[in-house]
Amino acid sequence: MSNLTLKPTKPWKRTPKQQLLIAVNLLVAAAISFVIVLVTPMKGKLAYLLLFFISTIIVNFAENYFKSGIAPAKDSIATSFVTAGLIIAVVPIFSILFTIFERGRAGLNFNLFSHDMKSNGPNDPLGQGGLLHALVGSGIMVGIALLISLPIGILTAIYLTEIKGIFSRPIKFLVQAMSGVPSIVAGLFILSAVVFPITKSSSGLMGGLALSILMIPTIARTSEEVLLLIPSDLREAGVALGGTQWRTISLIVVPAAKSGLITAIILGLARVAGETAPLILVSGGGDAVNPNPFHSPMGSLPFYIWKGFTFGTTESIARSWAGIFVLLSIIFILFIAARTLSGSEEKK
């Protein structure tokens, strides 16, 4: 009696016998599909996958039908389909990541981060030249976009959550509509509104302006969601202490939402870092490092990739893959940063 311990039971957990049964079912299905491929004219990987899927469904259906009846058998079909849905959705992601790693590796070297393409063509051997100009240009243009969209985006979010004026509903609607503006239209707009009538030449500033149009809705919507999560106790406490609305928001609400707002910024950066079409239209694309956003064309990472791709030789395409590798690494780091920040926020 003394060493009696109660172990928590987990009745929903599969017993070893059930797990074995699942494995047997999959094996049977694989065997059936193998035999069908062997004896019929259907050949190839596609046939294997399709037949494996169909025979898995049939085997599971039969097992459940004879064991428990028609309802669980139907349920097993649904399970097969939703699992297949997940696999189909995820396979391209892994294929993309694998491709970038495989093809981008060849073009990666330290020259990339210390040289520009001033004295090299895209067709030169891979060790020469680099994408310093593109990194600098992308950094400047995304920075300009951030400078413009951060105040506008956060003010929009504050208007929607704190002030709630008569324009709240239409503005909410318009911000959502704005997040669907095609990137090429943003480029055309800057072209028609600024480049043609005023500056008449492409420069980094124009690229930044075009990117900010795409960035504002992302920042506004994410900040709005973040500000909505701030408990209204904090606002009431601020007002009860005699603070005006301005002081309550600027000294209490916004600081409380700080890490969420940083997440909004990071998501905005990740959104525009890879935008290609507007930059092709408005920023030109120099081959030398150009730190001045007000004068002469400016290179950027997406433009560098685009140029290598359209040039079309083996070397230039390898350069493009290396560029994509760098671009995606940046986006990946931004994404992880956003996740970590919002994750730590949730724990508090």
């Binding site: 309802a71 139907k74 079909i77 649904a78 399970t79 939703v82 699992t83 849905g85 997940l86 189909i88 959705a89 995820v90 391209p92 992601i93 294929s95 993309i96 491709t99 970038i100 506008i152 956060i154 003010l155 504050i158 208007y159 929607l160 002030i163 004026g165 324009f167 503005i171 318009l174 509509a177 704005m178 669907g180 503006v181 095609p182 990137s183 090429i184 239209v185 055309l188 707009f189 028609s192 509104a193 149009i213 504002i216 005006t244 609305q245 301005w246 990740a270 890879g274 935008e275 290609t276 079409a277 239209l281 990739i305 685009w306 791709f309 994509i324 671009l327 995606l328 986006i331 994404f335």
Partner: protein, 334 residues
Amino acid sequence: MSGTNSAISPTSTPEKREITTKPRFSDKVFRGVATVGGLSSLVILGLILIFLGYQGFQVLRSEGFGFITGSNWQVMQDNAGNTDLAASSFGIAAMLVGTLLCAALAVSIAVPISVLCALYLTFYAPQFLKKIMVAIIDLMAAFPSILFGMWGFFVLMPHVEYWAKLIHKYFGWIPLFKMEVPVFTRSPFVAGVVLAIMIIPIITSVSREIFSQTPLDRVQAAYALGATRWSMIRAVVIPYGKSGVVGGAMLGLGRAMGETVAVYTVLNLVYQINWHVLIGAGGNVASMILLKFGEAGPTETRALMAAGLVLFLLTLLVNSIANTIVSRTGGKGR
């Protein structure tokens, strides 16, 4: 109270503060600034409309409805070498049809996959797998379009061409898949598959959010009545989330119609209305703008602006409908 105060210094009695709900000056300024910031989205959208309309006006007036219904794009020059607007013709019908065709194809491929994926993530996945998969799918939504373009061109296109051949072989009798000349490269079908892969993360995350808002009491009631997981989904989740999924699909449609670079790399632009998805000749407004922009003269650039205006209005319409549907379904959530 006032008696003791006046005993110390009769002059320093604090005046009675007026109790008011009128905002202070600082609040008025603050509200003004925030309202201006909030209205900026209206201003920007309005400016886009005005400037693209202003630049494209000349071409739109000379072409009239022919700009949308014609499918001829020809720039004529008079003797002095200037563009002759009356003799030139600008029509984007083929491009519009191509845009709609590719986008519709993308949505019809992506929606079933995304909905199944969202169902799996909401009701089937174990907790650890769910977390990882949601993060991966969100990451995919942040992939730049040029990445999809290059991956689509080098990796996906050979596979999709093979699928297209299979479809043609077995389903060639369906009018949509018919083709006289067997040219499978760079067809709308390829573009549709690439776009489908791009919009799967968007539709999945919208559907997942809607499904996870399904009232828990109804879910538990269904289970308590002895429903299997599938019959619960069919009886509770699908009726509840149906219109939300439609909204998510339309968001995906809007994204697919506005996509430029990814389509440009995998689609062969031909100025001819083509409904047959497997033939290697398609159209796309955004890609055409990018293609023509490089060598366009002033008048042709104006025509491209007009094309951009049409694209802008089209995506605006689709997105507005989508957002209305999603927000109505979501209720208080988003």
